[in-house]
């Protein structure tokens, strides 16, 4: 009998092209997603070496980071952004790559459109010059972010040099309570293991609370694996996965579909397979989470008080916490509930899918945004936008007093002009609360779409369960 294998090991082993002694493996890549920010220098490299894109049909490009979310008929005012977008168009045309460009009905955040169009499938290796590529692991794919030099390598060879990572078993037992979402699971996990806790590992999320999640909720969890230091997060495919992929534009059809499904059913981790590390979380114990600091590991229950650096023994951690609280303008021991907020951002590759917008809209329906508050709702793709509009969610947001924008990364990374002002506080459904992430001097509280919508209504950090 063969050794029991994990989901990760099965995919890894199936993609090894070559493995020289004392060298990283040559790993074949099934799907390469490309966006405008991390690819220009890679295409320049190809031109300098006179190389082509080896498999253009396995390469999919879009524009999401630099793109404005205002009225699409208006010109792009930022000359550098306009140049970068034009460069992506030129590169896609010159190298024969499929591009979901500015005028495409399918444009959107790369990690939203990949799954939406059916490019993302179980068992694949997927890379992109973007750390949140971990999102696609929700389908039982091995998906991770790479740098621009590696983007060039994949364009040229469809392969990457990779050292085999370790495996991390994250079991989530029990059942989520009302008002608690997959965002709260991942924020709770990162608060426990820290932002470096998963370094060198690929996480597999397992257990009944994970199996009960929809594909969109699973994507939220895998998306933030990188915030715990893990390059990839994975969830074994099951009927929910197969149901999601079925019928999508680039999903296999007919006999190929039947064959694919039978392959995918062999992917889940075998009984008795060993992981290098493990942790268990009980979903029954979870409540809505929020971050108080300047990295995603600085998170707590929304009902908790900000921790006190004087109670931290490790000197460098004490310093880090003091520095974070100073940046955030928070006092040790103060509760966050009731803390005033200036901006609410609902969007990003973490939480901009239709189910996220439905959740936010369920709270905002027949209610108003608090006076003076700016609320931005940014759908993850033009397809999500159309769907939301078909369901009337845009009207709910607009009538409440929120802005309803075009698809893109927007205020998550604040490259496109959507940003918070110095000193302002934002409750954001995005993935990073680093200093200045949402605009220089801006202060971010990361939370779920429900918690963000609750803050939109009250203008303060709020326990969404009190409004449901």
């Amino acid at each position: 009998m063969t050794q029991p294998q994990t989901l990760f090991e099965k995919i890894w082993n199936a993609h090894i092209v070559a493995e020289e002694p004392d060298s990283p493996a040559v790993l074949y890549i099934d799907l390469h997603l490309v966006h405008e920010v991390t690819s220009p220098q890679a295409f320049t490299g190809l031109r300098q070496r006179g190389l082509k894109v080896r498999r253009p049909e396995k390469t999919v490009a879009t524009m999401d980071h630099s793109t404005p979310t205002h009225d699409p008929s208006l010109p792009i005012l930022d000359a550098l952004a306009a140049k970068q977008i034009a460069q992506m168009e030129t590169n896609a045309r010159d190298f024969g790559i499929r591009l979901y460009g500015m005028n495409s009905a399918h444009r959107g955040i790369v990690h939203v459109i990949g799954p939406e169009l059916g490019f993302t499938q179980p068992g694949m290796t997927i890379v992109c010059g973007d750390s949140h590529t971990s999102t696609h692991g929700a389908f039982g794919a091995l998906a991770f972010g790479i740098g621009t030099s590696e983007v060039e390598m994949v364009l040229a060879t469809q392969c990457l040099l990779q050292r085999k990572p370790k495996t991390y078993d994250v079991r989530v037992e029990g059942q989520l309570r009302k008002g608690v979402s997959s965002k709260d699971i991942i924020l709770a996990l990162i608060a426990r293991i820290g932002v470096g806790g998963g370094t060198g590992h690929v996480i597999e999320y397992r257990g009944p609370a994970i199996r009960a999640l929809s594909m969109e909720q699973r994507m939220t969890i895998c998306n933030m694996s990188i915030e715990g230091g893990a390059r990839a997060g994975m969830i074994a495919p099951d009927d929910i996965t197969i149901e999601y992929v079925s019928g999508r534009e680039y999903a296999p059809k007919g006999k190929a579909w039947e064959e694919a499904v039978s392959r995918w059913k062999r992917l889940p981790t075998d009984d008795g397979a060993a992981f290098d590390q493990s942790i268990t979380i009980d979903a029954d114990d979870l409540v809505p989470m929020i971050t108080y600091g300047t990295n995603p590991g600085m998170g707590m229950r929304v009902t908790d008080s900000v921790p006190d650096p004087d109670r931290v023994s490790d000197p460098s951690q004490k310093l880090a916490l003091s520095k974070a609280l100073n940046y955030m303008g928070l006092q040790p021991g103060q509760p966050l509930l009731g803390h005033p907020v200036d901006v609410v951002f609902i969007g990003s590759c973490t939480n901009s899918r239709i189910s996220d917008l439905r959740l936010a809209a369920s709270l905002l329906k027949d209610r108003k945004v608090a006076p003076g508050l700016r609320v931005m709702v940014v759908p993850g793709s033009q397809e999500v936008k159309r769907q939301a509009e078909a369901e009337g969610l845009d009207k709910i947001f607009r009538q409440a007093g929120a802005e309803w924008r075009e698809a893109g990364c927007s205020m998550c990374i604040a490259m496109n002009g959507d940003q918070i002002q110095p000193g302002q506080y934002a409750v954001s459904t995005s993935n990073r609360n680093f200093e200045g992430r949402q605009g220089p001097g801006g202060r971010t509280f990361l939370a779920s779409p429900l918690t963000a919508a609750a803050a939109a209504i009250t203008g303060k950090v709020t326990d969404a369960r009190t409004l449901i």
Binding site: S149, E150, A156, L161, G196, L319, K323, M415, R437
Partner: protein, 194 residues
Amino acid sequence: MASFTTLTSRLVPLPVNDVDTDQIIPARFLKATDKNGMGDNLFADWRYNADGSPKPGFVLNDPKYNGAQILLAGDNFGCGSSREHAPWALTGYGFRAVISTSFADIFRNNALKNGLLPITVDAQTHRDLFDLAEESPQAEVGVDLASQTVALPGGKTVTFPIDGFSKTCLLKGTDELGYLLSFEKQIVEYELNH
């Protein structure tokens, strides 16, 4: 890629844990379509006021550390995004090595592809180096990649880990794409069988 063999340099101490790539180079500078000029924006929000004047308290603005080529940083350096602009900014500024107790995975990969050596040391050596950099800013340490050592003033030498492949690439200045292209035959075979 520039090769890395030995380096003798002073240290720039940045005693901050979990330095993320948004601090190393803020996202608004990622609209560039080439790799050059990133060094001016290294640590931009810690280094400059909103009007562009230097912030006096930040270590890169302290004249006694001018010209040092080794950054000594807190634990888990380079977490966050996959932007290779982070090592481009560090090398563009003039850094050739970063010392920490640990590095985020993608940052480490990106650094190695740009001739920037990530040096992992144990917690005690890390503390000793910070003491050295703060008490004797003129003191130099010697990095020797072939022997994987850092020599401190006073004779102490510590070793650091690096995988053999990355070490060879750095020593020779080999670029990984060239190596990968040599697998053409195996890649074709793989594609035929899948």
